[in-house]
Symmetry: C2
């Protein structure tokens, strides 16, 4: 089965973008070593939602050159320049095809919708969150409501000198639950 990781920064009050949809509140933390390079090297493919994709397109240079990028959207092709594939299918279908293509190490970038879709599908194995030392007050929440309960076992928690609390969790089926991983079904 694929190795699917959520790796995302959020405020103490659980927001990933501010009330204008911007992620510029993260700028003061740029350049700090959060193990990003090592993580990114291990990744074959990225999956993101349309809002996150549009935010990524605001930078002059496409930041994910050389990686497969899938945008989960029901809106068809948002661009024609081939930097991303626009896909209206479910998390399971996308993950299954990526793995068959040899791209099984997947980073679910965000936002809340795709992350919850992969969680609800039983696909997320690692949850790496970076709690920034900021209470934003309002904005786009990381967590959207879903359907399923999971255990999240901490593997490592790191407090960075700039106040960022990094949590690395392994996601498991709840105690006593039958493993209904899609990989036993497809």
């Amino acid at each position: 089965m694929p190795e699917i990781t959520v790796y995302i920064a959020h405020s103490v009050d659980g927001y990933i973008a501010d009330r204008d949809g911007s992620v510029s509140w993260l700028d003061p933390f740029e350049g700090w070593d959060f193990g990003w390079d090592a993580f990114y090297r291990t990744i074959d493919a990225l999956v993101m939602g349309a809002t996150t994709y549009r935010e990524c397109r605001r930078t002059p240079e496409w930041p994910y050159r050389g990686k497969a990028v899938i945008v989960m959207t029901k809106s068809g092709r948002l661009d024609e320049d081939g930097l991303a594939v626009f896909d209206d299918r479910t998390a399971v279908e996308i993950a299954y095809d990526l793995e068959r293509a040899g791209l099984g190490r997947i980073w679910v970038v965000g936002g809340g919708g795709p992350i919850r879709a992969f969680l609800d599908a039983g696909l997320v194995r690692r949850l790496r969150t970076f709690q920034m030392p900021v209470i934003l007050g309002a904005g786009t929440p990381l967590w959207t409501p879903g359907r399923k309960r999971w255990r999240a076992e901490p593997r490592a928690v790191t407090v960075h000198a700039n106040g960022v609390v990094e949590c690395d969790h392994t996601v498991h089926a709840p105690e006593g639950a039958v493993d209904d991983s899609p990989w036993t079904r497809v």
Copy 2:
């Protein structure tokens, strides 16, 4: 000025109660030492919302005997047995009166509404959160939208052997902001 602390458990996905409004999902963590006794001894008064109050009344014994309990509500008196005071005023007014009465060490119990009201009023100095090793999927969110941005500086982060990640943050005005603490105004 009063010493106001938020001390609250939440799921990894930021919920404080499950989709039925119940906190029974916390039962497996009962009896573990989270420094509760030491914290509770330092507290003069508790402030909570009406929903939290009603949840507390479901236990056979009133759990906060001997402490002043203020319920923030616009609905008047919810009970007549004198275990709590029902108060329709703002966070600043409540905190000010409690401190004048010599009850300046205040625990804002929850839920999200009162916590955000005290934060927006610039009254919360410590934020002690207990991230349970559970992804609940849906329920009552800890964080409701507010108006103000704050810095949250980690004082201590503890990973308990049962997987709970305890974060103790000090809340400060944002970098460069004027201190508009209500204690310089009242």
